[in-house]
Structures are given as structure tokens and as C-alpha cells.
Subunit: 320 residues, 2 copies
């Protein structure tokens, strides 16, 4: 049996997939991430979601070659422990996620960093498959990153590719982690929503929050931002353009330092806005590039919503 499982554990949803030896999807399932409780409650939902995907694929989880998990927070590939996953309920501390899930599912479980796992997926199977080195830029609630150099994930001392904390402007506004002027402080969806609220408090008009309520959301999702743009909302346009500008500058810094063959844009915001954002990001980056005549390829992630889960399933391949 060579089917494998993949779980993309996000702050909003848990996406699972079962893939065969060619990484073709045999079954998938999605569940909401619990918003209360603790790691065990989250793990219970992960188990349910993976069992659903296995059911759709017609396999038992115990018959899988293994399951990979792309996790937020600090995911230790060696020990399988996940720590400080602050966008998950009650997960400030450490939890032995791989060990726990392994008992529930009856197969080996490996964990990895959610963004690195998604970038690995794009590298092996998606928009990055033709390249040997790439920078993944994951534009979502925060701004994450992943580096592949010479065909392998570059993790540094364990915290490399924190692209979101590349500085765009000394002394600029702070991101949710308190770092001043980093790209996440301009482009992360969390920071963009904060800025939108500040602008509204300052008297700006926008349809953003009206659309949020109308669509029964409690935050400005990427879909809400898109609808606001469709309505010609000026504040939404201004803040998206500001995010694109920041991404362009931080990407230029990263290119000057690492000089990868390609930059892959993914994440909830990145995937939704790639068509408009990629040309703007390229244009913004150009004046800052050491060699503007020879930029790397810059592309949208191509694996879609299942990319994180498919990338997570690759953790099983790498381990064997």
C-alpha cells in the first residue's frame, strides 16, 4: 500500500488529502479548525478530517504509508512536537502532535512547518517543478516563506525563510509579533485589517466591514477583500496596493541576497490576487534589484487549495 495522507492545519480550516504514489489525490476532506479547547481538540478534528478523506479514497488510515502534517507554530520535524501555535486554541505551549495522531490513526505521522511544506509541494509538483532553487512567498493572514536551494529545503538553524519579517521600512508600523516595518506589517491580512479599522476610525469610507457583515464573517477574509475591489472600494484598493508594494520591495531584498531561479507566490491572499499582484510586485521590485535585467521567474502557486495537504504528504516520502 503506497497511499499517503496529508493534513494542512490552518487557523481557520483543516484540509486533508489522500494521495497515491504519483501524488494524485484519491480523496479529500475539510473541517473547521476548533476555536476553543486545546491541542487535543484540534488533533481530534484532524483525525476526523483525515478519516473522512481516507473513507472517500476507500482506504483505512492504518493502511497508509504514513501521514504528513503542515503545522503553524514551531513544528519540530525530528521530535514531532509542535510549540507556540498561537493561531490555534490553547496551543501556546508544546504538544507531541505526531505521536498523538500516530496512535489515533495507526500509522507513522511526521510534522513540518506549514509554509515550508506547501512550498515543497510547489517545488516538487507545482509551479516550481522546473527549478532547482526558489523562494516561496505565502501571503495570507501573515506573510510566510519557504526556501529551496539546490533542490532541498533550506531551514538554516531551524528558522530560515521568515520572509514576513524582512524589513521594508525602518521604524515602520509593527506586525502582530511586534517587529517594526517588516513586510508582514504591511501585507499580512491581520495587519491590513488593523490598518483598515484605523483608517475608518480616522474617517475613511469603505465597504469592507459592511461586506464582512453581509457575508457573515467576523474578519476581513481574502474573499471580502476581493468583493470590495469588485465594488471599486478605494480604501481596499489603497491597502492592497500598499501590500503589493511592500511585497515587491521585500522580494527584491530576498532576490538580492539569495538569487533564486524563481519566486512562487501562494497563500490565501497570494493565490486569490496573483493575477493582479504579480505584475505589480515585479514592477515594484525592479528598481531595488541588483540586476534588474535578469530577474528570477515570478509565478503563482499552482496546486490550489489542496497544495498544503499534498505538500504535507511529501513529508512521508522524504522520511522513507
Amino acid at each position: 500500500m503506497t497511499a499517503r495522507g496529508g493534513i494542512d492545519l490552518g487557523g481557520t480550516k483543516i484540509q486533508t488529502a489522500i494521495v497515491d504514489e504519483n501524488n494524485e489525490v484519491l480523496g479529500e476532506a475539510k473541517r473547521q479548525t476548533p476555536t476553543s479547547g486545546g491541542p487535543k481538540d484540534v488533533a481530534a478534528e484532524m483525525t476526523v478530517a483525515l478519516r473522512e478523506a481516507a473513507g472517500a479514497a476507500g482506504v483505512e488510515t492504518a493502511d497508509l504509508a504514513g501521514v504528513g502534517v503542515g503545522s503553524p507554530g514551531d513544528a519540530d520535524e525530528e521530535t514531532g512536537v509542535v510549540s507556540g501555535a498561537r493561531n490555534l486554541p490553547g496551543w501556546e505551549g508544546s504538544f507531541p502532535l505526531a505521536e498523538h495522531l500516530s496512535k489515533e490513526l495507526g500509522t507513522a505521522v511526521r510534522v513540518g512547518n506549514d509554509v515550508q511544506v506547501a512550498v515543497d509541494g510547489e517545488f516538487h509538483l507545482g509551479a516550481g517543478a522546473e527549478f532547482q532553487s526558489l523562494l516561496g512567498v505565502w501571503w495570507g493572514t501573515g506573510v510566510g516563506g519557504g526556501l529551496v536551494l539546490d533542490g532541498r529545503a533550506w531551514l538554516g538553524r531551524g528558522a530560515a525563510a521568515e520572509f514576513g519579517h524582512v524589513v521594508v521600512r525602518r521604524g515602520g508600523p509593527k506586525c502582530s509579533a511586534g517587529h517594526p516595518g517588516c513586510v508582514e506589517a504591511y501585507a499580512g491580512r491581520w495587519s491590513m485589517e488593523r490598518r483598515a479599522r484605523e483608517e475608518v476610525d480616522g474617517g475613511e469610507k469603505t465597504k469592507l466591514f459592511e461586506l464582512m457583515r453581509k457575508h457573515d464573517r467576523d474578519r476581513l477574509t481574502s474573499g471580502i477583500w476581493e468583493r470590495a475591489l469588485e465594488h471599486g472600494d478605494e480604501l481596499a484598493e489603497k491597502l492592497i496596493a500598499r501590500a503589493e508594494r511592500a511585497l515587491g520591495i521585500a522580494i527584491a531584498s530576498a532576490i538580492n541576497l539569495v538569487d533564486p531561479e524563481a519566486v512562487i507566490l501562494g497563500g490565501g491572499m497570494g493565490s486569490r490576487f496573483a493575477d493582479r499582484a504579480l505584475p505589480v510586485i515585479s514592477e515594484q521590485a525592479t528598481p531595488y534589484l541588483f540586476d534588474p535585467d535578469d530577474p528570477p521567474a515570478i509565478r503563482a502557486a499552482s496546486l490550489g487549495d489542496l497544495g498544503g495537504a499534498i505538500g504535507a504528504a511529501l513529508l512521508v516520502t522524504r522520511a522513507s
Copy 2:
């Protein structure tokens, strides 16, 4: 015969060294870089300087295992051609430096990027010898960089580690190459001198240019900056502090992206001011670090004035 030659080709001086199999220096020589003519005139001075070093070491250049050259501009390790070395006279185009020198010296010649070669020297023999990954920050007329990852120079597509063009402030002042707000625009000696002249034009008082004339210089060398600091010159203090701040922020961005084990500070300014600059740079970087509790080691280059030539001689070892 296992002696090797190394040439550090700079815009001001040509430093040469002959080393034995243990990289101990057997002989050295230094000459001024020609300020007029073209590549052949520069190559002629390089030949004279290397012959002097060989003479001091008691060897013939034809008996050397080879000679390595650390060169400015775009130095192609494969072809031995150096292009666009704009701080050398008449060197806007391409010149087959390795081939030319090889005929003159009667031994194999290899060329490499000057900063990468110096960083390799520190990695193998100097301040970086205990680490497997490092970022070299070469603070001089410009701001250069070198990356060693997993024990090997990381060159990307050929232009990696252009640390000087990491952005510190969107839309900031331009460096000599026209990139806005990059670290070189704040910290490169060329940019610092331009800023000092602007401040003087704006009515600021400083001893910098008086000291320059007194010591018979036509530019603000690192020695002049040091003397001005010793005189308590406020403008010099302000501009050095501004450079240190920019270096700290750009180093933070680079750490967040690459997460190396160490950062090594070298170059004319870096080596001269390391004692005061290293603590300031660390302090400035901290608020911008993704993981401020676990920064990489940050150290001064330790090979001194001969580091570039000794590093260049390593090009011969790598080739064999």
C-alpha cells in the same frame, strides 16, 4: 611544489600573497592600483605585485600550483573573464583576466568575486572556521556580501549575497548604482562621503575634509573617518551611527531569511570599526529579528589586510 598565490584586486590597492599548503604566508607584496589606462595596465601591476611576493617567498611564479584572484565586477569563475569592474580604470567591458595572467605568470590562474573570496577565507581559516553557514558583510567603499551555506559558497544564479542592496527604507536615498534605500546607500563609504558633503553644503560643521586634506587624501578613507571620531567630530559620529543602524536592520532581514550560524563583519570600514560597530549592529538588529532570543554569532573578520589574498589563494585549492 604546493605553494599558491593569491591576489586581492581592489580599487585602491593590489595585495598579493604566497601561501604554503597550510595557508601560512611565505611572502607578500602590495602595489597601488593604476588609476588610468585599462585592464592590461591593471594586469601588468598585478603581475609585478605577485612576482614581488614570490620573490619574497623565494619561489618562481611558474612553480606555483596556481594563482587565485579576488576581483571586483562580474568575475566568471568558469571562463576567467572579468566584466564591468567599474572601480578599475577602463574596465566597463570584459577582459580575459585569468588567461592573460596565466601567460604572464606561467601557471594556472582562477578568478572569483572579491568579497566571496574574502568570505571564503574567513570561513576556512578565519573568524568563520567553526561554523557551517555564515553571512559575510563587507563594509567598505560599497557594502558587499558573501554567503556560505552547508559548508559551500552559495552563488545563486551567479549574483547571490548582494547584501549591499538589501533594502533598509523604501524610497530612501540612492546608492551609487541607483537603488533607493538599500543598506549601501547609508553605509557604503562612497555614500557616506556624499552625504557628508551634502551636510557641509547645508551648513554642518565637520573636521572630515580638513583631516582629508591634512593627510593628503582625495577621499574620506576609513582612516580619516576614524581620526574624525577621535577628534569628537559630531557629523562623523552621526554618519557612522547611521551606517551602523542601517547595517543592523539589513543584517536582521538577512538573518530572518537565511538564519546562518554566524555573521562576519569585514571590509575596510568593517575591520576598522568592528569594536564599536558590532555591539551597535547587534542592538539595532534585535527588534527586527524573528527570533531575538537566539541570534547567530556576530564577529569581526580575523584574517586582516591579507585576508582577501589568502582567500583568493583558496580558489586554487577548490579547483584541484
